[in-house]
């Protein structure tokens, strides 16, 4: 891996970091190598006030490399699971979760494939997705963008999408926001009149048709789709330092 040339994984990591821009002093939680790397990149570069844990219960003052064991000097606070629940109900949190399936309104499934009563594949269970999505900002990461992951209808709504949130009315939906979806092919958001998923940018080297062919629903495609920003050599240097083992490189399907 070159130290100066950006890989697809580097582009994805920067796109993830951008999801956390302007979040300020809130807890950033990330599941998966690329989300963790991207969130740490944000903290290291333009969003230093983010609170981030070691993935367990220590709040760390600085963005450490993936897999690095924090020393006492790196710790600034304590966030056991009980405090995580309090924080997420408080709303001072932005989570980036994975999605085994996600639909055009941002409904996400991590629970099971097939009917819930008798699943073809039991996955994680809903975990914290229902509570996260209804209480604070959520983004998603899909390392392998294909029509089995971006589907017309998810098998089990774990994370709440915009159509479900709207049906709750203004009270129930007032803390709901799906900020962005980052995949190995592009960046997507829901800034459309009916909150259907919109293509924001294609990663360098990705064709529009490739995205259309690998998406199981009709995306909103604006005129003049951007190209996802490529990290500068300086940012690439930070990414190499934050992920010396290349965990994110292995996660992203190219």
């Amino acid at each position: 891996m070159s130290n100066t040339e950006a890989t697809r994984a580097d582009v994805c990591a920067l796109a993830v970091a951008e999801c956390f821009r302007d979040d300020g002093e809130i807890m950033a939680s990330a599941m998966g190598a690329t989300p963790i790397l991207g969130a740490r990149l944000a903290k290291r570069t333009f969003e230093p006030d983010l609170l981030m844990t070691d993935g367990f219960n220590l709040i760390l003052r600085r963005a450490l490399p993936l897999g690095a064991k924090p020393s006492d000097d790196d710790i600034e606070g304590w966030m056991p699971f009980g405090a995580v629940f309090d924080t997420l109900w408080w709303g001072r949190r932005h989570v980036m979760m994975g999605a085994s399936q996600i639909d055009q309104f941002g409904n996400q499934n991590i629970a099971c494939i097939g009917p819930w009563e008798n699943p073809k594949a039991q996955l994680l269970g809903v975990r914290g997705a229902p509570g996260n999505t209804i209480n604070h900002v959520t983004s998603y990461w899909v390392p392998n963008h294909n029509a089995r992951a971006l589907v017309a209808k998810v098998d089990m709504v774990s994370g709440v999408g915009y159509d479900r949130a709207a049906a709750l009315g203004p009270e129930g939906s007032r803390f709901h926001e799906i900020r962005r979806v980052v995949t190995n092919l592009g960046v997507f958001d829901f800034n459309t009149p009916d909150h259907r998923m919109r293509l924001v940018s294609l990663h360098p080297g990705v064709e529009l048709q490739q995205v259309i062919d690998n998406t199981g629903f009709e995306l909103v495609i604006p005129d003049g789709v951007d190209t996802t920003p490529v990290p500068t050599p300086e940012v690439i240097g930070v990414l190499r330092e934050l992920d010396p083992q290349g965990y994110a490189q292995k996660e992203v399907v190219v």
Binding site: P80, F81, G82, F85, W89, A121, G125, V126, P130, G131
Partner: protein, 281 residues
């Protein structure tokens, strides 16, 4: 003060067929595995298990003793999906109540506070309400009129937890960095039993860690079991890390009936002392 010391087998004697049991810890972390092994030896069946699930649920699925699981997830942490639980779900051999992790916590809290339910926003708009038709919403009686999920109390017959240290009367100490919700499991239960790595004099509990580590007080538990390695193969920091090799061996048995039979014969159909001996060798 009462001396509540007993054996794990004496503790699980309180569990009868069809009961609801609560299990402390989280995923594959500080699980009261010595009690789980005792439950397997006892052979009690048709259990409803309330747990931030890990191998506790997996093992009781594999032995056929679990009738119904109440969970937000079931995971082995380093192995994301619990294979025995997956198998039971995919073969539809168990009933399931799947909740948001935070809803799960509120269910425990409601039970601990002797409330019928606690309200939350979590679950609204998700299929958690669809797959759990017993769940109801409640309207705020105040001006806002907001509709919230009423999470019913998770009342438990018997709870089992594992601590690092305890004294003979039932004060318990969690020396790891996350207390999880073991105190609530005890309070949500009619009766609770605590195992620990080591029973020590009360003075040693107090000197052995910060006061905040004294998570369990003696009101909460009916019995204390000294079970060194009692959380094995899950982690129990700072006493020991997860036994990843053993966990992989356990996980692999979900794919192979003969391997499961051999695992069960070697590690489960034996006394706790023989289990610990087999693990050490």
């Amino acid at each position: 003060m009462n001396d509540k010391r007993m054996t794990a087998d004496e503790a699980v004697a309180e569990v009868t067929d069809g009961m609801t049991i609560g299990i402390g810890g989280w995923g594959s972390r500080r699980k009261p595995m010595a009690f789980i092994r005792a439950l397997v030896r006892k052979g009690v069946k048709d259990l409803t298990v309330v747990s931030y699930g890990g191998p506790d649920i997996g093992i009781l699925c594999a032995t056929g003793q679990l009738k119904k699981a109440v969970y937000g997830f079931v995971s082995l942490d380093s192995i994301a999906l619990e294979p025995h639980f997956r198998k039971a779900r995919q073969n539809a051999t168990i009933e399931a109540v799947e909740l948001d992790e935070g809803m799960f916590l509120l269910g425990l809290r409601a039970a601990a506070q002797r409330l019928p339910f606690l309200p939350t926003r979590a679950g609204l708009g998700s299929d958690v309400l669809k797959i759990n038709p017993h769940l109801r919403t409640v309207k705020s009686p105040y001006g806002d009129g907001e509709e919230l999920v009423a999470v019913p109390a998770s009342n438990v017959d018997v709870a089992f937890i594992h601590m690092n240290r305890a004294d003979a009367s039932g004060n318990g100490q969690a020396l790891g960095r996350d207390p999880y919700f073991d105190n609530l499991f005890c309070m949500a239960a009619k009766k609770a039993f605590m195992s620990c790595e080591k029973i020590v004099p009360t003075e040693e509990l107090v000197s052995g860690g910060p006061l905040q580590s004294l998570l369990i007080n003696r009101m909460m538990v009916s019995g204390v079991v000294e079970a060194p390695g009692g959380a094995h193969f899950t982690e129990c920091p700072p006493d020991y890390a997860r036994d990843e090799k053993f966990q992989r061996e356990y996980a692999a048995t979900a794919k192979d009936e003969d391997a499961w039979k051999a695992f069960r014969a070697k590690y489960l159909d034996v006394s706790e002392a023989d289990y610990q001996k087999a693990v050490a060798s």
